[in-house]
């Protein structure tokens, strides 16, 4: 089934946000959650969007996923404007652009078994039962799970890390070109987190998957990302390669963010000095 997951190499960005703005109406006016943001996602790369709470990074993600309407601006996918597509076209978009969300608990319909969750939405692919089983095995294999250990289980029988892996496998079932991970690892324990990040890394390296990694944790971005975008109050304040942004930040906010991150061994020293 590996050819199923091949990405077609394209020139230019796979997915981009062009001057996207999102305003929410609140009592006595409105707040701008995402302010005229433009960002490109290149095929086969991991791009991390880093920001603290209220930076608008998750709002941006939901707009890219077309789960939330934009106030203005465009979402472009493979050169096509997908900002306002609907119905069947939108469902087609969702086979190419998939996501894994933050909460490994509420991402599951607790009434469905893992097998059911994985099979859902595969009806339109017109796969034979055998091929479908094979696809499930392949996708669970990508995240280090075996069908026998997972498909008959219900979400409450899995650990947080396993659930998040099943969610990644579910996204892969659709044979997506882009995978959007919205704080997908932040509720996991550190040791499970690295294995989830490794899975994303492998998917990029082996399948050429484009990953959009949204996080508040600059350390995770550092481990995984090729490029980093830093957001503050709805604006992109800095962007560039991971090395440039993290090791040679230009923007004050990025500098402050990096200075405030507690660092396992560095902080020890800071304390000694202070």
């Amino acid at each position: 089934m590996s050819e199923q997951l091949d990405t077609t190499p394209t020139t230019g960005p796979v997915l981009s946000a062009v001057n996207v703005t999102k305003q929410f109406r609140v009592a006595g006016g409105h707040i701008t959650a995402v302010d005229d943001v433009s960002v490109d996602f290149h095929a086969g790369k991991v791009l991390a969007v880093v920001g603290e709470s209220g930076s608008g990074k998750s709002t941006l993600a939901r707009m890219l996923l077309r789960l939330m309407p934009v106030t203005s601006g465009q979402i472009m996918y493979q050169g096509k404007d997908v900002t306002h597509i609907k119905g069947g076209e939108l469902r087609k978009y969702w086979t190419d652009v998939q996501a894994v969300f933050q909460d490994p608990f509420s991402s599951f319909n607790q009434f469905f078994s893992v097998g059911h969750t994985l099979r859902r939405g595969m009806g339109r692919q017109h796969l034979s039962e055998e091929n479908l089983d094979q696809l499930i095995e392949t996708c669970l294999g990508y995240v280090g799970l075996k069908p026998a250990d997972a498909v008959h289980k219900y979400p409450h029988q899995l650990s947080g890390g396993q659930r998040q892996r099943v969610m990644i496998a579910r996204a892969l079932m659709m044979n997506p070109k882009v995978l959007l991970a919205d704080e997908a690892t932040s509720m996991l324990d550190a040791s499970l987190r690295v294995s989830a990040l490794n899975v994303l890394q492998d998917l990029r390296d082996n399948l050429g998957l484009t990953v959009l990694f949204i996080t508040h944790d600059i350390g995770q971005a550092c481990y995984l990302a090729d490029e980093v975008v830093v957001m503050e109050h709805g604006l992109i304040v800095e962007r560039g390669t991971t090395d440039a942004v993290i090791f040679d930040p230009k923007n004050d906010y990025t500098k402050r963010l990096l200075a405030d991150v507690p660092d396992l061994k560095g902080s020890l020293k800071v304390r000694k000095d202070g």
């Binding site: 690295v194 971005a221 660092d263 396992l264 061994k265 560095g266 902080s267 800071v270």
Partner: protein, 342 residues
């Protein structure tokens, strides 16, 4: 080192499961907090660190039962068991005044329509019924000035404060009675890094100014712990596996679990950029039916025959204790970090 502020011995706490079986979440744990120091309690979800915190703070409620344990704090010796008759009445006398707990998500528990000053008065009155409003507010104002925090916060409503400020205020309020020991459960986890830093600096100032004589800081976030603690205790599956000075533990981990945890930390450094961490294989054990011997042995890369057969007891090297067969055979050696990486 100065004396010991608190020594908890043989603490065992169980959850009553629906099946009628008791699941030990904290299993015969012994722990010390040195006077004037901050002890970090680290471990992954479900390792029992919060449960231990609740047991020490004497707020265990069904289905959690503390079945054994003694705590010596200052001059007092307290039976932590919640099974004894009248235990709750005895424990109530110590709560807040001797041991104060800052529970997980405390800042979200504050009613948004309450002014902080009302919270201050309520908390003071809960312990000393005849406290006047003025006394309570004076005390809070003094405390805020001492910590160089703005006193106008007292007149604001909880919803007007940022998450970080709210958490700092809750911390200040919960230590107004100068408890000997503060137990802070994941106080920084929901905060942005800048607020995290502010809270940590405030805690350090509080200890320095002797508002409390010791802190147990519970979190899964090792970098935060390395910043704030003097000593670290690592828990796995209801037991403490390693306990030592923070700096030594971070640099010379003696237990393979500690080592795996440390290497899972992703700091924004050049090293992180190039390393490939493997994570810990397998999943944490079922506490209702824990593995024999050392509970970490099914996931340990150094597991030997004795690991599954016998539970290792603590090996003390100066003030660094570790319960591990590998460490027993490799005195003073650091667990090679390479095993956790590829």
């Amino acid at each position: 080192m100065s004396g010991v502020l608190m020594r908890a011995t043989n603490v065992t706490a169980v959850y009553a499961a629906d099946s009628g079986k008791d699941v030990p979440a904290v299993d015969n744990v012994t722990l010390e907090v040195p006077d004037g120091q901050i002890l970090g309690l680290a471990g992954e979800s479900g390792c029992g660190k919060s449960t231990l915190g609740n047991a020490l703070a004497m707020i265990a409620n069904p289905p959690l039962y503390v079945v054994a344990g003694k705590m010596e704090i200052g001059e007092e010796t307290i039976d932590l068991s919640t099974l004894a008759k009248g235990a709750n009445e005895v424990h109530r006398g110590y709560r807040g005044a001797t041991v104060s707990l800052l529970p997980q998500g405390a800042m979200n528990a504050v009613s948004p329509t309450l002014r902080i000053r009302n919270l201050v008065v309520d908390v003071m009155r809960a312990h000393k019924r005849d406290t006047t409003k003025e006394e309570a507010l004076d005390r809070a104002t003094d405390r805020l000035k001492m910590l160089e925090m703005p006193t106008r916060v007292l007149d604001q409503y909880a919803h007007q404060l940022s998450g970080g400020m709210k958490q700092r205020m809750v911390t200040v309020v919960s230590t107004l009675l100068n408890p000997q020991l503060l137990i802070a459960d994941e106080p920084t986890s929901a905060l942005d890094v800048s607020s995290q830093k502010a809270l940590i600096e405030m805690l350090l100032a509080m200890v320095e100014k002797k508002i409390m004589r010791g802190v147990i800081f519970i979190t899964h976030d090792l970098p935060v712990l390395s910043m704030v603690t003097d000593r670290l205790a690592i828990m796995y599956a209801g037991k403490i596996v390693e306990n030592g000075p923070t700096e030594e533990l971070v640099n010379n981990a003696r237990h393979p679990y500690t080592s795996a945890l440390l290497s899972s930390v992703l700091d924004p450094t050049e090293e992180t950029r190039t390393k490939h961490v493997l994570g810990i294989p397998g999943s944490p054990p079922n506490l209702g039916n824990p593995p024999s011997g050392c509970r970490f042995h099914p996931r340990c890369k150094f597991a030997m025959d004795e690991c599954s057969a016998t539970e290792p007891s603590f090996l003390y090297e100066r003030d660094h204790a570790v319960a591990c067969w590998w460490a027993n055979k490799h005195a003073f050696e650091t667990v090679p970090m390479e095993v956790n990486q590829a």
